[in-house]
Amino acid sequence: MQTHLADFIRNTIEGREADAILRKCVHCGFCTATCPTYQLLGDELDGPRGRIYLMKQVLEGVTPTSTTQLHLDRCLSCRNCETTCPSGVQYGRLLDIGRVIVEQQVERTEVEKLKRKLLRLVIPYRNRFGPLLKIGQFFRPFLPKPLKQATPAARAAGVWPQADKHDRRMLVLNGCVQPAIAPDINSATARVLDQLGIGLTTANDGCCGALSYHLSAHDEALGFVRQNIDAWWPYIEQGVEAIVITASGCGVMVKDYGYLLRHDTDYAKKAATVSDLTKDISEVLYTEDLTKLKTKSNKKVAFQAPCSLQHGLKLSGKVEDILARLGFSLTTVPDTHLCCGSAGTYSILNPVISNQLKKRKLEALCSEQPDIIATANIGCLTHLESEATVPVVHWINLIAAMSHEK
Amino acid sequence: MSADSAQELIDAVKRALDSNTNLCITGGNTKSFYGRDPVGEPLLTTIHHGIVNYEPSELVITARSGTLLADIELTLAEQKQMLAFEPPSFGKQATLGGAVACGLSGPRRPYVGAVRDFVLGVRMINGRGEDLKFGGQVMKNVAGYDVSRLMVGALGTLGVLLDISLKVLPTPMMECTLVFEVGHTQALELQNTWAAKPLPISATCHVGELLHVRLSGSEKGIIAARKQLGGEQVQGADEFWCNLKEHRHDFFKQAETLWRISVPPATPALNVSGPCLVEWNGGLRWLKSDIPAQSIRTTIDMVGGHATMFRGGDSENVFHPLQQTVLTLHKNLKTAFDPAGIFNPGRMYEGV
């Protein structure tokens, strides 16, 4: 597509990147077909091609209004459009760039500003989010329905086997909300890896930075990124094999560290190393000999592929393959490519669309009456769990549980 | 044939226009029974005949409207090709122009398509005496409105067809006809079940207690299908299908009005009395009945079809009445092509 970027951006790093992305888009409209918000709203402006156009205008020097911002806000960042695009347009990158500029040029209402600030101030910090969640969980039975839905029930952490009995070592990202909401995911991962002869340890890391990044607070996000790199570096030097991520949403972010810090002279190299070492837990298991796990299950599982897993990490089919190898029977889920509406903070900021997508997703997931729904990302897990009629778990917990029963 | 038969026809149209004379466009005069009563001075298209271009590898034939259908079929057969829509001739003198203007298709229609599906282009004279070309000789063409297909079945009310380009198909490597002894209802059900399966069926006909089914394709394909279907094989069935197409089958020797009823194929037995012959997987039903047109049409309206008084009966109301807005569009189109209303006036509907 033809472009004429405005002076303010043309010769910047972002400007050049955005220009290259825009020029790749040939305006064919294929991507609209798989965009969840376009399917719901039927407005070009709520589909990727329209959003690209809106951003193009801004980059070409037209001052945006809250209209452009609204349509960009409605984007789930699910990147389904990227998977669909035959031309290889990196929509996600463009959106990151576009959102920041729009954020600078369009003032939000005080209420909106406050919401976003609160999200950024609470969620990424374990020591802030954890206690708040505990209070919520304590009062959960008394909460009004919407809040109750947003407050997941408490889970037990489960045992964490000792890491140092194995030669093979991996590090796992703690992250921000997951230890508070579902401490059992990482411990289950540790147990499964333990059976495979891999010791799993943690460092004193924190939020991966995705939350701030997607709320257009890039500097804040990069702060988190550097902290994590610093926390992990000693372990990397000691030779951990991989940095395992059990939330695919965080996985996408950590795999981008190298890219995000590519111009940071102090961190570029380290960040690249971190990204190289980063693996989603499905990538780890996919290449391991799973016969050691010897699970047997008659559970009918519906797997929900998080967007971050299939469109972000491009790991479609891996988890399904692992579960099938381990003898789980998987249901056929229609429209697996569509987003469940969780999308980070989206469910909080755009509840109406988010709920519509959740309903559709649950219908699709339950179309063959599964016993349980498995997912790969904490956000999707809590989002779906709030209204699902069957339990929702991280798929690694399925495996861990079976091995446990054995 | 004279040097420029097209020009002769154009001149004739212009003269008629000047003298305000209605024209009755006539080919082999084999289908004058079809439609409302013909009126006007005959304009004989038979002077304009001959195949203009035929290239088997292109699957396209272009012929003048006055060309005998039989000649075209013969020429194609020599190259192992055919007019796949199997137009009925209703007489040796039938011309291509008449077949296209009447828009009637034979037994193979539901499986390969109707006349209109095979028309690629026409050259025609409109009611201003203008010589016009639409469509072409290639498989796909969306330049301009699809006037060529609009001419199909328009009964000559929009213009005089001069040349017509048609897509043709290879004749099947092999055909085979099976017969089953079943009643009307069961025959409908059977046809419907078969239609839902990928079988190489190319015609069906149920009349009396017999259901005939024709299979077309490769030898292996036919053998496999026969295994699935059962039934008895009929020898020399080509004649049967030809007689059916040409209405020479005994069923058509009638005293009553012959109705051509087109319905969604899965429609159950029609709630009208009279002998019925079924073709097209159930989509086409020939009915012999003298019950009032109004009552037949009310019944057919309810199943989403339409009923034509094919032969006999009240020559005023031959075709199923149209929704008022649709009729208006017809009249507007008639004016668009034939502002003076000289071509086959009223042959289709009053004023059309």
């Binding site: 597509m1 033809q2 004429h4 064919c28 409209g29 294929f30 077909a33 399917q39 709203l41 070009e44 402006l45 070409e60 020097g61 695009c85 035959p86 031309s87 347009v89 | 590898s57 292109e58 396209v60 599906d117 010589d131 070309k133 290639v138 498989m139 796909k140 969306v142 330049a143 301009g144 409105y145 699809d146 006037v147 297909r149 609009l150 328009a154 290879p170 419907n192 239609a195 839902a196 990928p198 190489p200 490769s218 394909g221 053998i223 299908a225 087109s262 319905v263 097209w280 086409l284 989403g304 079809g305 339409h306 075709f319 149209l322 649709v326 017809h330 507007n332 189109l333 668009a336 092509f337």
Partner: protein, 497 residues
């Protein structure tokens, strides 16, 4: 330099405000777009080189709303451009400055499926592929499959008479639609066609199909569904010479075989699509043919053998039959994504759509190659070989001054060539705005006048997509003059760069 949006005529702005507020009485407030910022993304369809800002965009979601919007426009002499998914490649959905864009994208529901009669009633905004997906569990599918089927709407398909990869055997849209409901410019809801195999009166359905939104707004479509064949196999054959591949196509047809699909890609197309789908195409081949055979397993086996023989005689270099259905789908998905995949190697492309007699394939291909060199622009070829429907994609860079103009000239030369060999300027993408001047070459004044008379029969005030598809005689006169003074801007009235 940043481009300031072209200053608009102030009277247009006040009209915009008035029309928007009037239309908001009919549809929800946020279903009427009237800020320039929101209108921009609607300024073009899949042909992004041609852009025009509409007066307003309206997104109704009931038929009644469509009728009211249309009546309002009719009463107030406001032009209407219908829009489906906006994937058109000829500028059919290009807005009109003082006109409304009527989007049917919200009409995206399948209304009903009739299993016994094998039909489906769908709203116009339903995506082509969604129909097949919806009925797949019944063993049925909707046959016409344009490459854009993932995104394009059935309403747009009817309006363009879209073709697809399997149209050689199963026909175009016109062969697979039974009934449509349209809203006329007067706002009447009219049913055209029927659920039976034919319908009384003129074949208005054929006339409406391919009429590019000039005769009515399609608000419902009943499509014919086919039973999925028991078996489908695809052969991929490579050739070291594009002419040989072209001749192989003609040879297959001459042998009396009508494949389900018969498609061709040249080397550049093979490479870009392979990059996206990793189908295992032969990236060294000058051209590959994809030939699908379907039917009962017995028939398919028979035909595969016959086709192999023909291909052998035509001099293929490599041949491969897809080993399973997944691989078959993969072979096709590459072909289907070929146009946009070109975005990987060029920022812009201009897609031509001429259709020619099959026997001229080889010679026309060489001529196109010659033209490509003459104009110094790369041309990628992907096309519906079986139908003789070419899709030369001219690669250009919109940011380079003068390249679009050169591209249009080359496109024009290719169209001239198609007419010359007895073909047509458009096989399936429609005339729209893009090829309107070439209509003056393909048709003479009388024929164009007849088209205008047809338009008049439906739309006396000429409000439906008025300046598309059929040029005014005045325009042709100017075009004739322009042909003399080569190098003038093709559409001085359309915003372009």
């Amino acid at each position: 330099m940043s481009i300031a949006p072209k200053a608009e005529n102030p009277s247009l702005q006040s009209q915009r405000a008035r029309v928007a507020s009037d239309l908001r009485r009919v549809v929800a407030t946020d279903s009427v777009l009237d800020e320039e910022e929101s209108l921009r993304p609607y300024e073009c369809d899949g042909l992004s080189a041609y852009r025009r800002l509409p007066l307003v965009v309206v997104l109704p979601d009931t038929v009644d709303q469509v009728q009211q919007v249309v009546r309002y426009c009719h009463d107030n002499d406001i032009p209407i451009v219908a829009r489906g998914a906006g994937t058109g490649l000829s500028g059919g959905a290009l807005p009109i400055e003082d006109g409304v864009v009527l989007s049917l994208a919200k009409f995206n529901k399948v209304i009903s499926v009739d299993k016994d009669n094998r039909t489906a009633v769908v709203q116009p905004g339903v995506r082509n592929l969604a129909i097949s997906e919806t009925v797949s569990h019944l063993g049925l599918y909707y046959a016409p499959d344009p490459s854009s089927q993932i995104a394009c709407t059935i309403g747009g398909n009817v309006a363009e008479n879209a073709g697809g990869l399997h149209c050689l055997k199963y026909g175009l849209t016109v062969h697979n639609v039974l009934e449509i409901k349209i809203v006329t410019i007067e706002g009447d809801l009219v049913t055209i066609g029927s659920n039976a195999l034919d319908s009384p009166g003129y074949d208005l359905l054929a006339l409406m199909t391919g009429s590019e939104g000039l005769l009515g707004i399609i608000v419902e479509v009943t499509v014919k569904l086919l039973t999925k064949p028991d078996c489908a196999k695809v052969i991929m054959a490579s050739f070291d010479d594009i002419e040989k591949a072209g001749n192989a196509v003609a040879n297959i047809i001459t042998a009396g075989i009508i494949p389900g699909g018969l498609e061709m890609m040249d080397n550049a197309a093979i490479r870009v699509t392979e990059d996206f789908v990793h189908a295992g195409y032969d990236v060294e081949a000058a051209a590959i043919l994809l030939c699908e055979l379907d039917g009962t397993p017995e028939e398919v086996d028979d035909e595969i053998e016959r086709v192999k023989l023909v291909l052998e005689q035509s001099g293929y270099t490599q041949m491969q039959v897809a080993k399973d259905d997944n691989q078959r789908q993969l072979f096709w998905s590459g072909r289907k994504s070929a146009f946009p995949a070109v975005g990987r190697i060029s920022p812009d492309y201009y897609c031509m759509d001429g259709t020619i007699p099959r026997k001229t394939l080889g010679s026309v291909m060489s001529k196109v190659d010659e033209l490509s060199r003459q104009y110094d622009l790369r041309v990628v070829n992907v096309f519906h070989a079986g139908d003789g429907n070419l899709h030369p994609l001219i690669l250009y860079d919109g940011n380079v001054e003068g390249e679009l103009e050169r591209t249009e000239e080359l496109g024009g030369a290719i169209l001239d060539l198609c007419i010359e060999v007895g073909g047509t300027i458009t096989g399936e993408h429609g005339v729209g705005m893009e090829k309107i001047d070439h209509m003056c070459i393909q048709f003479d004044t009388l024929e164009l006048s007849q088209f205008h008379a047809v338009k008049q029969a439906f739309d006396t005030k000429r409000l439906l997509n008025p300046d598309k598809a059929v040029p005014t005689l005045h325009r042709c006169a100017e075009f004739g003059a322009m042909h003399v003074h080569k190098g003038q801007l093709k559409f001085p009235d359309i915003e372009r760069f």
